[in-house]
């Protein structure tokens, strides 16, 4: 039995799955793009680092030249080490487009390294003029490195131009995809919700209709609900109730009939029939009674009562008694007597 609860859980599950799929999809796509972005950014950072480190090395060299001591020397050595590290890192940036510039850049860093070394060597040998000349060279080389870094970055930008445009296009596509999937999920959800609500409200409507029929005293209509949930269970119970009531009612009526016959047999005394109008009032279903009485009395309605579904041969009211002209009052009035006269009488 798929209960309503199950259906609701199913709905929740579908919503969750859809959300999960959308989320996963978007995160995955973004991740792809982000990784590529990171790769490129890494390149820029490394290029910039090379440029910065060469400037720092020259600054350290300058400090050392101004006042050569051990501490300055250590910081210069550190700067040169960092410069070499940066140079080694540049080798990984090689691609088909930038081979020329990158080779220039790396060689410039080597040249700077040389110039720094020579400056230190010459200043150690008290050769001030030459050391100054090499210092000037080192400073110029650092400038060239910055410049080459700029051209490398510029070159990189134009080399990756199509890529960047692709990425932009891609993010637009992903946004579009998000909306499309949202729309799709929305439609599926709507369809599902419609189906679910229909599965609940339809049987309830049927049940309500059946209850209304019942309240009008028509017990011969089986309550038919095809679903397989709580409502169906309710409907079946309701149907059983209807059958029970119907049986009960038939039984009572039979009894009443029997009693009436018994009453009539002993004497056709005039006092007796006076009790007859009271009889219907004793029935728990006066309306039904009236309807039943009217059944034979109004010939035009007879045809409809001969429906095949009258399995139990129960008298069937076609129309609610209230809607009938005259109604109950007519049944109870004096002139109603002959009309509802028992055919068997």
């Amino acid at each position: 039995m798929t209960s309503i609860q199950h259906k609701i859980w199913l709905l929740c599950g579908i919503v969750l799955c859809a959300m999960g799929i959308i989320w996963g999809l978007l995160v995955y796509c973004n991740q792809l793009v982000l990784e590529q972005y990171n790769g490129i950014l890494q390149r820029y950072l490394r290029m910039n680092e090379a440029s910065e480190r060469s400037q720092r090395a020259v600054a350290a060299l300058n400090e050392y030249m101004l006042a050569p001591d051990d501490e300055k020397r250590r910081s210069l050595d550190r700067a040169v080490r960092e410069l070499r590290d940066a140079r080694a890192g540049m080798a990984g940036l090689l691609n088909e487009e930038n081979a020329f510039l990158l080779a220039n850049h790396m060689n410039l860093m080597d040249s700077l390294d040389d110039a720094i070394r020579r400056t230190v060597m010459l200043s150690g040998m008290d050769n001030g003029d030459q050391a100054a000349a090499f210092f000037g060279q080192a400073a110029r080389y650092a400038g060239y490195i910055s410049e080459t870094t700029l051209s490398l970055i510029g070159h990189e930008l134009s080399a990756y131009d199509t890529f960047y445009r692709g990425i932009m296009e891609q993010s637009r596509e992903i946004r579009k995809l998000g909306f499309l999937v949202l729309g799709l999920v929305l439609m599926v959800l709507l369809a599902f919700a419609w189906w679910l609500s229909r599965g609940i409200t339809r049987p309830i409507q049927k049940l309500t209709a059946a209850a209304r029929e019942l309240s009008r005293g028509r017990f011969d209509r089986p309550v038919e609900i095809e679903s397989n949930d709580e409502i169906a269970f309710l409907a079946r119970t309701f149907d059983r109730m209807r059958i029970s009531i119907n049986d009960l009612f038939l039984e009572i009526r039979k009894k009443a009939q029997l009693e009436a016959e018994l009453d009539r047999k002993p004497a056709a005394s005039p006092g007796k029939p006076a009790a007859q109008p009271a009889e219907p009032d004793q029935s728990p279903f006066p309306v039904q009674h009236a309807g039943y009485a009217g059944q034979e009395g109004v010939p035009g309605r007879g045809g409809r009562n001969k429906r095949p579904d009258r399995k139990r041969g129960v008298a069937h009211a076609v129309q609610p008694a209230a809607a009938r002209p005259g109604g109950d009052a007519a049944g109870r009035s004096g002139n109603g007597g002959p009309v509802r006269g028992d055919p068997s009488a």
């Binding site: 796509c29 020329f100 080597d110 040249s111 060239y144 891609q170 995809l177 729309g183 369809a191």
Partner: protein, 325 residues
């Protein structure tokens, strides 16, 4: 009505599904062209072509030839250059190329001490071969491997022969040089003099002027004031022939003068068509670029050792009005 609605919703559903699948396909087949990372060593020779006049048609043509040759030989070539005649930028580019330890430098010769120091000491120290192109600097001073370009002495002779013919063997000629005549100017002048000395009637005097137009105009004016009988002007430097012609045109009919130019560019060609210039020396910059790169490659490959120190001369010819289409 209801059926219509359901039909419409179904259609919308399928449309959205189709679009989703399509977009999904596009998103996942995304493959932006990233320059392929190459791990192979950078063993292609790197050659730099450095000029002082990138903006001239002459140099553009030279670059075209150089790049075509570079493509053919599978070497990496970059053209660096400053616009205008900024020597500082040019020398800076040269030093940058040396510090970048390129495999070869093809440079326009610049006849000054800084250039010579860079090529003869710094480039030689780093083992970088230098080829001069277009204009030369004597090998003893620059240690260049070779020179590729016009034979400027021959060009001077070519002009002078035509000049002597136009003057009928007699007349006063002013040869304009720049303030510090470069090697190619001296060569052109020597070429001119080697012809004119054969004619007793031709008097050659030299005047120097910077490349600024007003200075040039002033120098021309001075010469005309000093010697109103001047019959011919020849500039062997980067002088604007149009300025000379205009200055002469203030007093005389410029067409009566014998004016010659050593560089072919749209302006001089127009002046030639107009009958103001008598002749232009046409060089072959395309061949210069092509040849210089080929020679550099041969040098780097060790095929031609040594290169011809005297240089490799490209064709020159004199464009005259009669020869113009």
């Amino acid at each position: 009505m209801r059926r219509l609605l359901i039909g419409f919703l179904c259609a919308a559903f399928f449309a959205i599904s189709a679009m989703t699948i399509q977009t999904l396909g596009r998103v996942f087949s995304f493959d932006a062209p990233v320059p392929a990372a190459s791990r192979e060593p950078m063993d292609k020779p790197r050659i730099v072509l450095i000029s002082r006049e990138r903006d001239t048609p002459f140099w553009r043509e030279l670059e075209r030839g150089a790049f075509e040759a570079a493509g053919r030989h599978g070497v990496q070539l970059q053209a660096w250059g400053s616009f205008g005649l900024y020597e500082a930028d040019f020398l800076r580019n040269l030093e940058l190329a040396i510090a970048s330890r390129v495999d070869g430098i093809i440079a326009q010769g610049l006849d000054n001490d800084d250039f010579k120091k860079l090529t003869a000491i710094r480039a030689a120290e780093n083992g970088i071969p230098v080829i001069t192109v277009g204009s030369d600097v004597p090998v003893a001073e620059s240690m260049r491997r070779t020179y590729v370009g016009s034979d400027h002495r021959a060009a001077g002779r070519l002009v002078a022969e035509r000049l002597a013919e136009d003057l009928g063997g007699a007349g006063r000629v002013v040869v304009l040089t720049s303030e510090r005549p470069e090697h190619f100017e001296r060569e052109r002048l020597a070429g001119i003099l080697s012809v004119t000395e054969r004619f007793d009637g031709i008097v050659v005097e030299t005047a120097s002027s910077g490349s600024a137009n007003d200075e040039l105009a002033r120098v021309v004016r001075d010469r005309l004031n000093a010697h109103p009988d001047t019959k011919a002007f020849v500039s062997v430097a980067y002088h604007n022939a149009g300025v000379i012609a205009r200055e002469i045109g203030r007093r005389f009919r410029a067409a009566d003068f014998c004016l010659y130019a050593f560089d072919e560019n749209p302006e001089t060609v127009q002046l030639l068509r107009d009958g103001i210039l008598r002749g232009i020396v046409a060089q072959d910059p395309y061949r210069m670029g092509e040849w210089s790169v080929s020679l550099m490659v041969r040098w780097l490959d060790g095929v031609d050792l040594p290169l011809d120190m005297d240089g490799y001369f490209t064709d020159i010819r004199l464009l005259t009005r009669e020869a113009m289409p």
